[in-house]
Symmetry: C2
Subunit: 310 residues, 2 copies
DNA sequence: CTCGATAACAAGGTTTTTCCTATATGACGA
DNA sequence: TCGTCATATAGGAAAAACCTTGTTATCGAG
């Protein structure tokens, strides 16, 4: 039994003759005739009674008709199901983001995406970068945005953005010249994302530099969020280091900031399974993330030196 | 999209690899691979992500899987629907019978048939022979048992039985020798099946004979059923003519009966559309009817001359 | 009752599809 | 690094689908 035969059968029922069905399907009568014969042979019973003029359904044919129609309807539904995914009118996208990005971006991203593709369900999870990488690897998530470095085995990786890390201090004097790692070591340091400890990419880079310069960094306070770190810096408890984009946000008003002498960057990257092609939904979402990141950069450009007005 | 491709797809999902699916279907891996590729091409999106080892469903594949399964399930249901009809496990049989037969046989026939094929619905209608013929012609009924003659245009006709018509009288003297049509004309005549009038096959035969013999038959009473006719004959209101098989029934006790000098028969015949093949159910039912008719004949053989004991 | 139209059916040939074998390629694990 | 297992690819054989041509049967009209 083939879908084709079912199509021919239903067309024949509708037209009452093989030739009529053949015309409607742009085929010849013997083709239809032959396929119906085969179908009847396989079913072991005649579906039509052959009259000189036209055809009549047999009892078996009457029973078969609605069943055949249902099969064809389901075929269409199957086609539609994948078309939804293909045309971004359905399905679910699972996407992971590292903590900071998820905190600041998730609302905007979800809004943008749902506005454009209201029928695609979205599952956006905030984890740390290596957790995101793991879940993408085992297909719990389809793709993600992380901060390098991560173990990229089995992953496709594409750098999305370099986010400069700047030093923030209450004392403008401490930032009169680009900050060196040695200068940083001279003052109390406040760091955030305490829970990740040495796995935090920013810490890894800082410790790396300190080691090479032969100095020791002493974080006096480690807190959870950027806001908290900046808040503590405002009270003069120490300096802190934050992504440049975070400067333009609330909580940094009246603070001073400066690049490192040797600029320090967080590298954002998109990851996906290296063997699986990205779904259209994932591609569309990545594009939206990129647009948002670009807007962040632009906003950050206007904020330089001291964020008085923000 | 073909049913075959859906089968291959589901087998691949189940086994997690083309090669595994191929083994389970007794095919080779390139065949499966090729069909899946074609399916994906037609759907316009990949269903599997090809990993070095094994395959993973894409989002589209996940959506497609249940839809494909439903199609295959419905294909099976379609197959089962016609199999029911073929194997006499379903469907409906419409069968027509002429009045007398329906009155005497319907209960037994329905019982026999339902006992053997409890899943086939039965629609047994009692009409006169020409009405049955008409409804078989226009496919309202699939087949029927009628008394000849009928207009058999467009019908297949098979004689089922010759049923002798015998004269029944209260006076044994009237039946001492085989009855001639002339002798019949000498006495009051009671006929049944009044409503059909001259269309009744028995009347047609009798009138035909009378005409050839140059005598006139005068039915003094016409009633509806055989029982009524025999009842009136018992009261001495006249002679009547009934199928031999009816003699052995209640209501004919103590009456005398005799064949015609030139034996008179009702011819029972099965009819069906000449263009439509009989459904298995109809064939089975015809067989059951034949068996019942045979048993009637046997019973009638023991009743001869006078039905004292019946 | 013959004639023409229509449609099923049959036969033969061509194109397309399906499936195979053989081989290349790529990933994983010892 | 090599062997194993998986998919991809190429080429050819078998099968299926379709077409063309021609025959037969039925129905309706003249």
């Amino acid at each position: 039994m083939t879908i084709q035969q079912l199509t021919y059968f239903l067309a024949t029922v509708e037209h009452g003759s093989f030739s009529g069905a053949a015309r409607s399907l742009f085929l010849t009568q013997p083709s239809i005739s032959e396929q119906i014969r085969q179908l009847e042979g396989e079913l072991g019973i005649a579906l039509f009674a052959r009259a000189g003029r036209g055809l009549v359904l047999t009892e078996a044919g009457r029973k078969f008709r609605p069943a055949a129609a249902r099969v064809l309807a389901d075929v269409e539904r199957a086609r539609a199901a994948v078309a939804e995914v293909r045309d971004l009118r359905g399905g679910t996208l699972g996407f992971g983001m590292f903590g900071t990005a998820s905190a600041y971006l998730i609302a905007d991203l979800a809004t943008d995406f749902r506005k454009k593709y209201p029928d695609v369900r979205l599952r956006l999870v905030g984890l740390n970068s290596s957790e995101v990488a793991d879940q993408v690897r085992n297909a719990t998530l389809e793709a993600g945005l992380i901060v390098l470095p991560v173990d990229d085995a089995g992953l496709d990786l594409r750098v999305a953005r370099l986010e400069e890390l700047v030093v923030v201090s209450r004392e403008a004097s401490r930032l009169s010249t680009p900050v060196t790692i040695e200068a940083l070591a001279d003052a109390p340091l406040i760091l955030y994302d305490a829970q990740y400890g040495a796995n935090d990419p920013m810490r890894r880079q800082l410790l790396d530099r300190a080691q090479r310069a032969g100095v020791t960094l002493r974080p006096v306070i480690e807190v959870e969020g950027i806001e908290a770190a900046v808040g503590l810096a405002r009270r003069g408890l120490g300096d802190t280091i934050v992504p440049r984009a975070a400067i333009s946000r609330q909580g940094a008003r009246g603070m001073h900031f400066s690049s490192f002498a040797e600029p320090l960057f967080d590298t954002f990257a998109f990851i996906a399974r290296s063997d699986a092609p990205l779904s259209p939904a994932a591609r569309a979402f990545v594009e939206i993330v990129e647009r948002r990141l670009d807007r962040l950069s632009e906003a950050a450009l206007y904020a330089a030196g001291t964020s008085e007005t923000d």
